[in-house]
């Protein structure tokens, strides 16, 4: 089965770079907006990406293909276990824990490029799980629109005791 994407190659190309924990310091100034969920995403790459990487989550920076090599976006890909019913075994799902586009580079089509890159990476690991999922803040309408554009669809709202927000779960087959 061949899936053809409308590949929205950004006008200013960016390059995915698989990073190590020692590279994360380069994102110390990363900003993606003033909204609460945007601040959470900026904090994730600075503080929470390192422990996630120790739990086998991979992280990419997308850098501008010029001398500056500015970080225009970041993304991540890991796995999680979902229990489908109380007595059923857990299933493994590939997960995008966090992704964000730097505020200076929003509106250039980078988010779709980043997602297409991640879908390619996840498809190469089809044997781990044929499903790719993510959770998005319900106020992040722009992101939800882009996720739908590349084939994700909503599953359910998940509410956690330690967070006030019901995040929207989205999933797609690989």
């Amino acid at each position: 089965v061949t899936e053809l994407f409308f590949r929205a190659m950004p006008s200013d190309p960016i390059v995915p770079v698989l990073v190590t924990t020692s590279d994360l310091a380069l994102a110390a100034d990363f900003r993606c907006g003033e909204g609460l969920h945007q601040q959470e995403l900026a904090r994730w790459i600075k503080e929470d990406a390192a422990p996630a990487m120790k739990s086998k989550t991979r992280v990419w920076f997308y850098v501008t293909n010029d001398e500056q090599k500015n970080i225009a976006a970041y993304s991540s890909l890991g796995t999680s276990n979902w229990r489908l019913s109380p007595d059923a075994d857990k299933i493994k799902v590939q997960i995008i824990p966090a992704l964000a586009v730097h505020e200076d580079h929003q509106g250039k089509g980078y988010a779709q490029f980043v997602l297409q890159h991640l879908i390619g990476e996840a498809t190469q690991r089809f044997e781990i799980s044929p499903l790719l999922a993510l959770f998005v803040h319900p106020d992040n309408a722009v992101a939800i629109h882009v996720y739908e554009k590349v084939g994700f669809r909503c599953t359910e709202h998940v509410r956690y005791l330690d967070v006030d927000t019901a995040y929207l779960g989205m999933i797609r087959e690989l």
Partner: protein, 171 residues
Amino acid sequence: MKASLEIDTYAQSWKAQHEEVGEVLWPFEDHLAIGVALFRMVREQEEAWRDRILRGIQDFDPRFDEGFQLIYRCWLQPFREITQRLAQLEQAYGSVKHADEFRAACREIQDILRSWRPPALSTAIGLREMALNDQASTEVKDMLARAKARGPKTVETIPSQNSSFLRKPSN
């Protein structure tokens, strides 16, 4: 007769050396191997504990946090004595098995303790383990069955660079 005496002397000296190696060097090498294996085992346990907390499978308990740090400190306690003895044996016998692994483990434990941060629940919701409600479960089961029956779709892959591509600060 003379040759026989020389061979005998050589054999005696080799025997003495061999006995010394057997009594001193080999047990020391065994201790190094055990020390490194113990460290790997504790490290594996610590990483699994961190993973369980990150994914919300286990609550954070400060007793474990202190416990792991204490084990690492105990491991490092005889470090100075052992490295001194190691240097003496390397001088006497040329090389000591497991010496490099032992030194690497020492450096790694020092780094672990220096950069120690208690584990925390992932702020990225997706990394937490979760149970789905009935409706979502049915939907996911169907998707899973369909995807497995079909096999992976062919998608365009975008190659990644490694981190040497990144500009490092103040370079």
